[in-house]
Symmetry: C2
Subunit: 241 residues, 2 copies
């Protein structure tokens, strides 16, 4: 039983000996779906206190409680990287959020561009996807999903100490470009919609002093592929890989 | 009309002035679904002759023909990279094949490992996904999807001039490892199943002279994410990006 396989993200503070009452859906998942009994062990994290091994001390149908035994991992914050993306079809948007959490983005920000296919998103659904991905990938941190904002407004209001990577199809040589900028600590990656950026958006982005343009190779990548590829390039050059 | 948006993969040879009779499903797609009329232009490729701009010369309900006007791109072969992966749930397996084609893998090879969740695949379905991805991503080449083979048998029979990258969770420093091996031209990437590799498989892989182990960061990636991430690392270090 030492090898607890189930990881659960909870809202409560975690500390050795701490008892964690479970929400109804969590109790249903652990005791109804996964059939855990008292004494079973799971891993807990809350995005603040690292990861704890915990034991089931009460297993009811709609309620239950866990007790923290010991810390198994300290909190590991992801690098300070935001992923900005234009929402696409539902399944692929879900996918981008899941992948961004797995790949270690700190914040996930849907943006509305000129050619964005979909301007309505459900932040709570996307946030739940990010949470599940964090549970699954062994992370101790859940990236925040923000509400959708217009790209223009975001750029006008951009924090001056953050660099923005703009994935432009027309360029070559991503890693050299990134490596040359390793002095900067705060970053964001912008992935465009299926229709690409408008000419206005491209000119505006290209002219901004905090924007770095990189290429993702000679083939045209779908937005979900581009998100994972750009996150990989960044993590392997400037991040925690 | 010059900016032909539709790209179609055909089986016939392509050359200037060549007439291409369409299969029933292609005619249905172009004339029934996309409503093209005679004179409309599309882009054609066949994996051998590059890309051609072609014009609709006959548009029937179930048949039709195109005529090649001029070559718009030469054949661009992807680097000699195979992607070996253990099939997972259907949607995620489809996804891996789509992404491998987009990312420029030359050959896509499902493998059966000890913990492979699914040992049955439909090669024709996966091949159709690879073809669609090639149509979409602007590639002029369609990677071949092979039938599933046992990992053991594949390794016993491994071509001696091909390196194999094995994504091991326990390691660090992927790019330095790859860069040090830039003398090799033929490569393959192996992505494990959701349950990881067995101890036997890990020992066997680690002992093989053609195997390079790399890490994909501190979080555990799903198989589909790992495929895109490993392809990105390879393409940006040794490939055509």
């Amino acid at each position: 039983m030492k090898d607890a396989k189930i990881r659960l993200c909870v809202t409560q503070d975690l500390a050795q000996g701490q008892t964690i009452p479970l929400a109804q859906n969590q109790a249903h998942y652990l005791f109804g779906v996964m059939r855990l009994k008292a004494g079973a062990r799971v891993l807990l994290f809350n995005g603040r206190d690292g990861e704890y091994l915990a034991e089931v001390v009460e297993a009811g149908k709609r309620k239950g409680a866990l007790r923290c035994i010991e810390q198994t991992r300290p909190l590991q914050m992801p690098p300070d990287l935001w992923l900005l993306f234009a929402p696409i079809k539902k399944a692929r948007t879900d996918f981008i959020v899941e992948k961004a959490a797995e790949m270690g983005a700190a914040k996930i920000m849907p943006v509305q561009t000129r050619f964005t296919n979909s301007d309505r998103i459900r932040v709570d659904r996307l946030q739940a996807h990010a949470l599940e991905a964090a549970e699954q990938c062994g992370g101790t941190y859940v990236p925040e999903v923000t509400d959708i904002r217009k790209l223009d407004a975001l750029l006008d209001d951009w924090p001056e100490d953050r660099q923005l990577i703009f994935c432009d199809e027309a360029l070559v040589g991503a890693k050299e470009t990134l490596r040359a900028q390793s002095g900067h600590k705060k970053w964001a990656i912008l992935i465009g919609p299926e229709g690409g950026f408008s000419d206005d958006e491209r000119s505006k982005l290209s002219a901004l002093p905090f924007v770095t343009k990189i290429s993702l190779g000679p083939r045209i990548l779908r937005a979900d592929t581009a998100a994972v590829a750009a996150l990989t390039l960044w993590q392997s050059t400037l991040g925690d890989w």
